[in-house]
């Protein structure tokens, strides 16, 4: 219990340090939210100065940090200059979509990776293994954005929707039709996103399973005629679990960050476009919320991974 409290304290400290670092980094980068406004014909220098004062951008770093911290303490999560709104208001309606997309694709990616990685390792050098290897190399050579565009191209030639989370007439659909509509809209983004994270997972699953297949106790089990599904599930996978669980912890952090790019290209109403935009126009508090979210997920993921590692390994229990 005290270890858990310690970890929680560490996590909180981590977020604080991270937020400070982001402030420092943003300070290092030239310009602020209003730098781009210089070229806007309707924004006079005086107006920009006024706005800078109004949003406290002229104040020293620590004051700005404290202002942000107090905003977080009030539950607003910071204030977006671009939208003139508390960040929470911007994030809440979008976060569910991002989590839905990211969660579904993570699930899909892990399922595919486990199947391909295990099958490939089981018959290492076989046709499935070889073609997986080639596919992985190809996926790594294709930028995500291009993959997204190819995904839309696929949608153009099928009956699948090209983007968005719901159809235009969603509101008038029946409950069942709504569900189908949602799923149809998920197919392409989830597939594309799963494909982007697939290479890493497949390679690691395959390596770990290969290594586990080589473990003396797995060979012994095969010597006893234990094989097939029983061998894989009860012997090989637990033995291969360690790097995979670690990787799972890391990919948990990717739940938020992984889909940023894809969402924009797919017209998926998640956090992606918002956070990316905040990055380019230096809307610091929005970006900060995104980063802290990623970090928190990552940290939780690592916590889960460490916990799972303890859980599956009976030796650590004694």
């Amino acid at each position: 219990m005290s270890r858990l409290v310690g970890r929680l304290a560490q996590g909180a400290l981590l977020l604080v340090v991270l937020s400070m670092l982001v402030f420092v980094f943003a300070e290092l980068a030239p310009g602020d939210f209003f730098t781009g406004a210089v070229l806007d014909p309707r924004m006079s220098e005086e107006l920009i100065e006024t706005l800078r004062l109004q949003y406290g951008l002229e104040q020293p770093l620590h004051i700005r940090y404290l202002r942000w911290a107090s905003s977080v303490a009030r539950g607003e999560g910071g204030f977006s200059i671009a939208y003139r709104r508390p960040v929470v208001d911007l994030f809440l309606p979008r976060a569910a979509h991002t989590l839905m997309l990211a969660g579904a694709s993570m699930l899909l990616a892990w399922i595919i990776a486990l199947v391909l990685g295990i099958a490939g390792a089981y018959r290492a050098g076989g046709w499935l293994d070889r073609s997986t290897l080639i596919a992985v190399a190809a996926l790594l050579a294709i930028p995500e954005l291009l993959l997204a565009l190819l995904g839309i191209l696929v949608a153009v030639n099928t009956r699948l929707p090209l983007g968005g989370a719901t159809s235009l007439d969603y509101a008038s659909l029946s409950l069942g039709a709504r569900l189908i509509d949602r799923i149809e809209h998920l197919v392409i983004p989830v597939t594309v996103l799963a494909l982007t994270s697939l290479p890493v997972l497949v390679r690691h699953v395959r390596t770990s399973v290969l290594e586990a297949l080589d473990a003396p106790f797995v060979r012994a089990a095969r010597g006893h005629g234990i094989s097939g599904r029983r061998l894989m599930l009860a012997y090989v996978l637990p033995a291969a679990a360690n790097p995979l669980i670690t990787l799972f912890g890391i990919s948990f952090g990717g739940l938020l960050s992984g889909s940023l790019v894809i969402e924009g290209a797919m017209g998926w109403p998640g956090l992606g476009p918002l956070v990316l935009e905040s990055m380019t126009n230096q809307d610091l508090h929005v970006l900060l919320a995104g980063i802290l979210g990623v970090c928190a997920f990552l940290w939780v993921g690592n916590l889960i991974a460490d916990g799972l590692l303890v859980l599956i390994d009976p030796r650590s229990g004694d």
């Binding site: 310009g31 806007d40 995500e144 839309i152 968005g164 790019v261 017209g267 476009p273």
Partner: protein, 606 residues
Amino acid sequence: MKDSDNCFRMAARSARVGCLLSVAWICLFGCSPSPEAPSADSKVAAASSSPGATETYEEPEVGGRLVVALTSEPRTFNPATGVSQATLILLSLTHRGLMALDPMSQEIRPSLAVSWTAVPTDGEDFPLYRIDLPRDLKFSDGEPFDADDVLFTIEAILDERVGSPQLQTLMVDDEPISVTAIDSHTVQVRLPSPVADPGMLFESLYILPEHLLRDDFERGELASAWGTETSPSELAGLGPFRLASYRPGERIVLERNPHYFQRDDQDRALPYLDEIVVLLLTDMQSSLLRFEAGEVDVLSNVPVDGFQRLQVVAEERGLQMRDLGAGAAYEFLFFNLNDLGTESRSELIAKQSWFRSLGFRKAISHAVDRQGIVDLVYNGKATSLGTHVSPGKSRWFVDIEPPETSLTQAKEHLARAGFRWSEKGRLLDSGGAEVKLSIATNSSNPRRVQTATLIQEDLSKLGMEVQVVSLEFGALLDRVTNSFDYEIALLGLGRGGVDPSSDLNVWHSSGSNHLWHLGVDCPTTEWERRIDELMELQKSELDFAKRKELYGEVQRLVFENQPVVTLVAPNVLVGANKRIGNFSPTIFEPTILWNVERLYRRSDRP
């Protein structure tokens, strides 16, 4: 006239190694290529002049839905504070101002106002105007509109707490205009000093409903009122549409405003359409694909290669693609002529002596292959420029041919300016130092990087060693406007009004967008002084012909002295589904939606 680039879209790429990536900026805003514009491509100009006319033969259908795409989310529904491009396009659908730019004639015409008349003043210095407002006009929530709403709007904009970007527009020579109500439907405007085209002050000044916003204003919270979370029932405007629903990140649905004031020739209520669905698509490539698939009905600011691809499939997919000719935005090179003072940047200061040499600037202008930029970067969909006013702005265009692309002439200019060549063909300045330069531009705009890549090779033919430095947009702007740590930069400008006065901040030596030499109050050369003078004169010149002449002289001075090397004006490319009737786009934002109340949807494909 100012910049171009404020509107951007993001096309982020892979976000691996833990950090996030890239963002592409696309120059979006253009200004008019009116049908009669002497376009570089006469065929194109002819094509774009016809559609409005042909469409009138057909009886418009009432009802239906139009799907449009926006490249970023609106940041507010508040007309007083909206600045981003997406916000402004959305506001243009839901609000109306007293005056508006007629994109065809490129003049300011009454919009809400019934009439705009100058009131003769006896002996007084201050010009006076009377604006008659229509009666029986209602906001989209059914509440009546009267002069108080106009007064409230002006009061709100002029209030510093609101921080409205239009505050400056309502200031003449640092004095606010004053507006008074004569009766409930007549207002009177008093200007502190004469203004050439006073209707311009009210262009796109959307009228705020006093009954909804007065309380917020009194509390000093108008700036944050009408944020994107506001319920549609709390919003109201005078535009043809009103907000029905908003799904963040996904789409905005607008419905017909039943109280809209305009009616068509047959006295039918406008708009024809029932509904506009605005899809929020941050990625241009996916917008293109969805347009191609017929999921999006109209698409503005189509990138060049997408446009040409769509042209190929236009028949098959039932699309109409239009090249509207040169937009008002222009791409240009400028030299760092800022006063670096005593700062220890001797290397840069030494290079500035080249930049200050007219021969050097002219040599560069002659060396640049503008047609190459048009052909290779814009696939022919751009127009070479000799000066900063593109043919698209027909009302102010003065035919100045771009400098001839000629290495010989460029070399002559250099030789005359004291440059010479080493045995290896490297260019040396009069002190014998090799000429090494860098062209900085923003990496988010691939067109600019491509242009710089072409210029880099052009200049290397003169014996210069040139490097392309592409920087993130904010970092580039910081160098250009703040640290002055650059040599040559490549940027685009051209957003803003058609009127020369909107150009003041670029060409006046004290202007905030006088990018190549910022923060000067008194011009350093004779021709700069003359430009300042001309710009001041045209500001209050009431006679159009004289004003055009004054502005023409500015353009000639710019051409002769090349403080900036203007390159090209990209064409404005748009497309629509053939089902969309009355499609009559212009190079002004909103290119396609400027006549949105008259757009209609055919139930059957013609």
